[in-house]
């Protein structure tokens, strides 16, 4: 277990660590922020983060330093930082631990980011269900304010940094950055079409940076130990640093594990995760949260970094690895995820709104053993019509379970349909409207 050095989870794994300001300071907390406040130029900070190769931990993996550099420097009026803590991807639970167990690490990252981009106000948009996280953060913010890390005139620099916690109301789509901004503005959480991007027209149409919790938590460490140190960890040049992976499913030791980028799935599942739950062979795994396409055992030796996974036809996403053992029905697995996406589709754009209900109803029919062979082509057709035609990335996400299970396990679908055809040979042809 101690094979890899931990960065983010290091503190909280010390016995008795409560995450209070005092304890955080003892472990070297807020040193990076002090260093920054002593007069580091924002452009230097951005340069450091760029050099470190840190990429967004929320799912898309956009280089953080580059994102920051998009913020117009001489913009009059306010700029904002939003911490995306609406961790609602099924199978992902890393941000929750970071916020609940070591809140100051996140706050320090946010404070540095605010300093860098020139934002006076930052929001943490936390998922509605994380009531404990919201409480812990609120306390931590109060502590940090008292200690002068936040509030007006932080650490005597004359700058103001205020952080507010905003609890969501439980919509998956609010994890999408523009929908998050809409929700934060008090509107219905629906994605905006891009461009313009949040970097220029974000919260209240002001320049805004939206970063994931884990991304922000990495910032203090990069500034403390230098970009070169961070860039050497993991799988440089494209996948630097460590990553917290959330193991779940049919596995012996589910939980959060911080490992450097570029570890193989085989090592992750069989060594770190302790192998399959009932020692049955592995059938499938989702490498990066519910919206990442399924992978098969032949992909076990793929390295866990952005590029390798993209080449394998999936994505690193939010780092939630869900493992499925032999005997799991892949139709059921796809349906289960599809039902989630159907429930969470916001209804803004047509393909996703109507497509998700169509897909889920067709899948339900197949799993009820009332399907037909033509349904399979219909499913793929629908997926093709949804993919790439929606306002946000939700469209791609919602078709991925069907497309990937269909690619690897089409026979399971066919088997269910053959059973249906055998059981109901007459009812096989469901009346079509034009025939009535």
């Amino acid at each position: 277990m101690a094979k890899y050095e931990k960065i983010l989870l290091k503190n909280m794994e010390q016995p008795g660590y409560t995450g209070s300001l005092k304890e955080y300071e003892q472990t070297g907390g807020y040193q990076a922020f002090r260093k920054v406040c002593e007069g580091m130029a924002p452009s230097d900070i951005i340069e450091t983060v760029k050099l470190s190769g840190l990429r967004g931990r929320g799912g898309a993996g956009f280089p953080t330093g580059v994102k920051w550099s998009f913020i117009p420097k001489d913009h009059p009026g306010p700029k904002y930082l939003c911490c995306n803590a609406d961790e609602s991807e099924p199978g992902t639970f890393k941000d929750r631990q970071l916020m609940e167990r070591d809140p100051h690490q996140v706050l320090e990252g946010m404070a540095i980011t605010c300093y860098t981009i020139g934002a006076e106000t930052a929001y943490i948009y936390i998922r509605g269900e994380f009531w404990l996280g919201a409480k812990v953060l609120d306390q931590a913010i109060a502590e940090a304010k008292k200690a002068g890390y936040l509030g007006s005139n932080v650490l005597g620099t004359g700058k103001t940094i205020n952080i507010f916690v905003h609890r969501g109301a439980g919509a998956y789509i609010c994890g999408e950055e523009t929908a998050l901004l809409e929700s934060l503005e008090g509107k219905r959480g629906k994605p905006r079409f891009k461009p313009p991007f949040p970097a220029t027209h974000g919260l209240y149409q002001k320049p805004t940076v939206v970063n994931n919790v884990e991304t922000l938590a990495n910032i203090p460490h990069i500034l403390n130990k230098g970009a070169a140190w961070f860039a050497a960890i993991g799988a440089p040049p494209k996948g630097t640093g460590t990553r917290i992976f959330c193991l779940s499913g049919h596995i012996k030791r589910p939980g959060n594990y911080e490992v450097p980028m570029g570890v193989t799935f085989r090592e992750m599942i069989y060594e770190i995760g302790g192998g399959m739950r009932s020692d049955k062979p592995l059938k499938a795994f989702i490498p990066g949260g519910a919206s990442a396409p399924f992978l098969t055992p032949e992909h076990l030796d793929v390295k866990m970094d952005f590029e390798s996974l993209a080449m394998a036809g999936s994505m690193l996403g939010s780092g939630g690895i869900t493992v499925m053992e032999e005997g799991t029905s892949m139709v059921w697995a796809a349906l289960r995820l599809m039902e989630f996406f159907y429930h969470e589709s916001c209804g803004k754009c047509t393909p996703c709104r109507e497509g998700s209900s169509w897909l889920v109803q067709t899948l339900q029919r197949i799993s009820r053993r009332e399907g037909r062979m033509s349904d399979l082509d219909l499913l793929l057709d629908l997926c093709k019509s949804i993919e790439g035609r929606t306002v946000c990335a939700f469209g791609e996400a919602e078709v991925s379970p069907i497309v990937s299970t269909m690619r690897h396990w089409r026979s399971e679908y066919e088997e269910l349909i053959r059973e249906a055809e055998a059981a109901h040979p007459v009812k096989q042809e469901i009346p079509v409207l034009s025939q009535i």
Binding site: Y342, P351, S357, W358, S385, G388, T390
Partner: protein, 888 residues
């Protein structure tokens, strides 16, 4: 408009057609300009792009995936393809998705036949669908009186929601629910309660939101379209009557047509039924033994001609007076005044513009020598600062209000509102919420507000430097007046501190282009003429009077108030707005008409009533106006009408006045005749005949023309066009349809004259603060409601369904103090009488003010005293001080 021209053009190729379009144009717009129709649901030129329907996907070179053309701006050298197979397949798939849950009820849907979804389905999808699951069904929760939603048909383009928010600023609609179960809802589990502008009905691309009024009575292909002008308020909206079998079915408006540019208000959209109400008079009537009996036209005309001739020869021409409603067309108004001046030979004539609009006209004539605005409607959009005084804009002139909203929300104009309005969020929009400086006043204290602004201008040295150089006396005179008034006095009356006046004055002065909108609250209340002159002083002092795009705009309440002034249908003005005492004007008119003009004294409405009471005026011809309904009993109107020897009415309905008439001619409504209306800004627009006249009713001009023939002074015209030609010859530029004329520039001679001595005579009377009400009393104000206009609209079944009766509005704090709840009976009392009514709580109106819609309940009129303006003879009767108690 100017954004594009300054930043240049870009070249774009769409479906192999290359053209240059202004930079910043959306691809869908550019395609339309090149003649390529890209199908869409959610895109609308009036709304910000939302890109949610995904119907307008096109292929753009060098861009990954298909792009939505409604949200992509063209760039130099862009190559767009909208008819390649991938694009067609994408459209087909989007339609498949939409049709999956869309019910197959086109045959019973009112949109069937003009539905975007139907059209695109015909174009892109084969019949039949692969969707075999159960369709989603929404059950109805309630049925609305005028706007019906059928959510099963909705395509979720959110045009209605966005229109309601972005254009109307009402926000009555919102999407509720997620995914495919999203539906458009109004707030709460009750029927829609909003401004009922009908915008959502018009903007819905499918049949999800339809009008309940004509539901299922038509199919679109049966309708006969007639472009016409709305006959309710002075905004002069262009609209389309849709008629079927001589019955009005619905009203639409067209994007890009007229000042309203596709928008209408509830009166325009739901008020058309008033024209074809079953109570319409359909044949002439004469009084026989005290009863009105129907007679043929010949008989009725002969009786009137004979009687009028007899009165004229016995008592002189000045024993006959005429009154016309400003709802008539310009041609009617012109012929009416010509009839009175030539056939009868009297100057005793007036129109309903006298009720208030004349104040604005006189003020404009006095200071800038024009009888029109010196700015145009479009200048509202380019204004940097807009000052509204006593307009209650949303309710009286809804389309002007839309322009103000657009100026503020889209173009960043600063809005100063001096209104009897509180910035409360409600079911109808509130411009006080948009204003940068809001000065809430009681309706009887607008004079204090304007004086406050003037005092701030003088005190803060905001006076135009050029004016200081050449009109020092004028400035000193005003300074002397305002110095005599202390801030404490103003604060006591308005409840506002000097700072807010000073801030507002600074904003107003700073603006490059500043516009003052003056509404009924000023024009129709005590001292309206003085207040309007004071506001002109504000323009003069800040040096804006003569600047392009600046000006003072009195807003007309009736659709053709401006027309009746320009047609000379008021006693002191000749056609063309010329002074009737000017010898020059008289001579040119006499030359044109070939007869001499009457030399008798002028008689305005109130003069005529006074003379009638004294028995000097023997007969009256009243065209479309109902003075008994409009004037309170205190004016002695019933007495005056009762003493008349002979009363002729040309009316649509048997109004209170018509009931007293000796002869009634049935006139036809503006939907049944041709003609023109002149909007408040002075734009003449066509009124066209949508249906044949009901029964035996005839246009007013035809009746007057027939009467003139029988009285041996034939004024014969073959059609309205012939009258129009005469008008055009007499007043060049009048009745020229087409784009609105350029606004007149202020006449510098008049201005110089005003600055030298013209201002002096009224100075003392207009620069004094109005009296204060006793603390325990309330200011009772009658005025216009957003859903009605005059008494005419109360005949429209749609509007009656929205608002069927008048209820007294009171601020909740006042009500709490008096122990009143919504729906309680209250007793209003002052020295003139006592009236019982019911109360409604509204936080829109300020504390200490009561509001009652003027369209209903004559009874409340008893509380109002009438006073007449010395200069303009306008009767004031809109405000009264009353005590309120709970009715037992």
């Amino acid at each position: 408009m100017s954004e594009h021209t300054t930043t240049g053009m870009v070249t774009v190729t769409i479906d192999d057609v290359t053209a240059s379009v202004p930079k910043g144009t959306l691809v869908i717009e550019a395609a339309r300009q090149l003649g390529v129709m890209i199908p869409h649901f959610c895109y609308h030129p009036k709304l910000a792009p939302d890109a949610n329907c995904r119907m307008c996907l096109v292929e753009i070179e060098k861009m990954p995936r298909l792009q939505t053309s409604c949200s992509t701006q063209v760039t130099e050298g862009m190559v767009v393809r909208s008819s390649v197979p991938t694009v067609k397949q994408a459209r087909k798939s989007v339609l498949d998705f939409i049709l999956a849950n869309h019910p197959l009820d086109c045959p019973v849907c009112d949109q069937g036949g003009r539905c975007d979804l139907q059209d695109f389905s015909h174009e892109y999808t084969a019949s039949g669908t692969k969707f075999v699951e159960l369709k989603r069904v929404f059950q109805k929760e309630y049925f609305s009186p005028v706007i019906e939603t059928q959510m099963n048909r909705c395509v979720q383009c959110l045009r209605c929601v966005r229109y309601c928010d972005e254009v109307m600023d009402v926000r009555a609609l919102a999407p509720a629910g997620r995914g495919t179960l999203t539906k458009i809802k109004s707030f709460g589990v009750h029927e829609l309660d909003c401004e009922f502008c009908g915008g959502c009905v018009q903007i819905c691309p499918v049949g999800a939101i339809t009008s309940r009024l004509s539901m299922y009575e038509f199919r679109p292909w049966m309708l006969k379209r007639t472009e016409s002008t709305c006959g309710y308020c002075g905004d002069g909206c262009q609209m389309t009557f849709q008629a079927k079998d001589n019955d009005l079915i619905e009203v639409n408006s067209t994007l890009g047509v007229g000042r309203n540019n596709g928008d209408l208000c509830s009166r325009g959209y739901f008020g058309y039924h008033a024209n074809v109400h079953e109570d319409r008079l359909q044949s002439p009537m004469i009084r026989c033994d005290g009863e009105l009996v129907e007679v043929p036209w010949e008989e009725a005309l002969a009786v009137v001609a004979e009687k009028l001739t007899a009165i004229k020869s016995a008592n002189g021409a000045d024993a006959i007076g005429g009154l016309i409603a400003s709802r008539c067309t310009n041609e009617d108004l012109y012929l009416f005044q010509k009839f009175m001046r030539v056939v009868i030979g009297t100057n005793q004539l007036d129109s309903s513009a006298r009720y208030g609009h004349m104040n604005g006209i006189h003020a404009l004539q006095r200071v800038q020598g024009t009888h029109r605005w010196s700015m145009s409607f479009d200048d509202l959009l380019s204004a940097n600062a807009i000052l509204t005084v006593g307009t209650n804009l949303t309710e009286t002139n809804p389309i002007t209000a839309l322009k103000v909203k657009e100026a503020v929300k889209r173009r960043g104009a600063e809005l100063i509102t001096v209104e009897a309005l509180e910035p409360a969020i409600g079911t109808i929009s509130n411009i006080a919420l948009l204003s940068t400086h809001h000065l809430p006043l009681a309706p009887d204290q607008f004079a204090s507000g304007t004086i406050g602004l003037l005092k701030a201008v003088i005190q803060e040295n905001l006076v135009d430097a050029e004016l200081v150089a050449h009109a020092k006396d004028y400035i000193d005179a005003i300074k002397k007046q305002v110095d005599a008034i202390s801030w404490t006095d103003i604060e006591a009356r308005t409840g506002l501190t000097a700072e807010i006046f000073q801030d507002s004055a600074k904003v107003f002065t700073r603006a490059e282009r500043a516009v003052i909108l003056v509404g009924q609250g000023v024009l129709r209340s005590q001292g309206g003429y003085g207040m309007t002159l004071n506001l002109m002083d504000l323009l003069v002092l800040t040096g804006k009077l003569n600047r392009i795009g600046c000006g003072l705009a009195p807003l007309a309440e009736e659709n053709n108030d401006q027309g009746s002034v320009e047609m000379g249908a008021v006693s002191e003005l000749l056609p063309g707005g010329k002074d009737c005492r000017s010898r020059e004007a008289q001579q040119s008119l006499e030359a044109a008409w070939g007869c001499s003009l009457p030399s008798g004294e002028e008689g305005t409405l109130m003069d005529m009533l006074g003379k009638a009471k004294r028995g000097i005026l023997k007969a009256m011809i009243i065209v479309g106006e109902n003075p008994i309904g409009s004037l309170p009993p205190d004016s002695g109107i019933e007495d005056a009408i009762g003493k008349l020897e002979f009363l002729v009415c040309q009316e649509l309905f048997l109004t209170d006045t018509a009931k007293r008439a000796d002869v009634i001619f049935p006139a036809c409504s503006y939907a049944e005749k041709d003609g023109t209306f002149t909007s408040t800004e002075g734009h003449t627009q066509a009124v066209r005949k949508a249906i044949e006249p009901l029964g035996e009713s005839r246009p007013d001009w035809e009746i007057l023309s027939a009467l003139s023939v029988m009285m041996d002074h034939p004024l014969e015209y073959e059609s309205v066009k012939a009258i129009g030609k005469e008008m055009r010859d007499l007043m060049p530029g009048t009745r020229t349809l087409g784009p609105s004329p350029l606004p007149p520039r202020p006449c510098l001679d008049t201005l110089t004259q005003y600055l030298q001595e013209g201002y002096q005579d009224t100075l003392a009377t207009r620069y004094c603060l109005p009296g204060m009400k006793a603390t325990h009393t309330f200011v009772l104000n009658v005025g216009q409601s957003i859903f009605h206009s005059g008494k005419f609209s109360t005949r429209a079944k749609g509007l009656i369904q929205i608002q069927s009766q008048g209820v007294l509005s009171m601020h909740p704090e006042d009500a709490e103090r008096l122990g009143l709840a919504c729906g309680d009976g209250v007793c209003l009392e002052n020295q003139l009488g006592q009236v019982k009514t019911t109360v409604k709580l509204s936080d829109r109106i300020p504390c200490g003010v009561l509001f009652f819609p003027e369209h209903f309940d004559q009874d409340i009129q008893r509380l109002f005293a009438v006073s007449v303006d010395n200069d303009t003879h306008v009767p004031y009767f809109k405000c009264a001080h009353v005590e309120v108690s709970k009715a037992s």
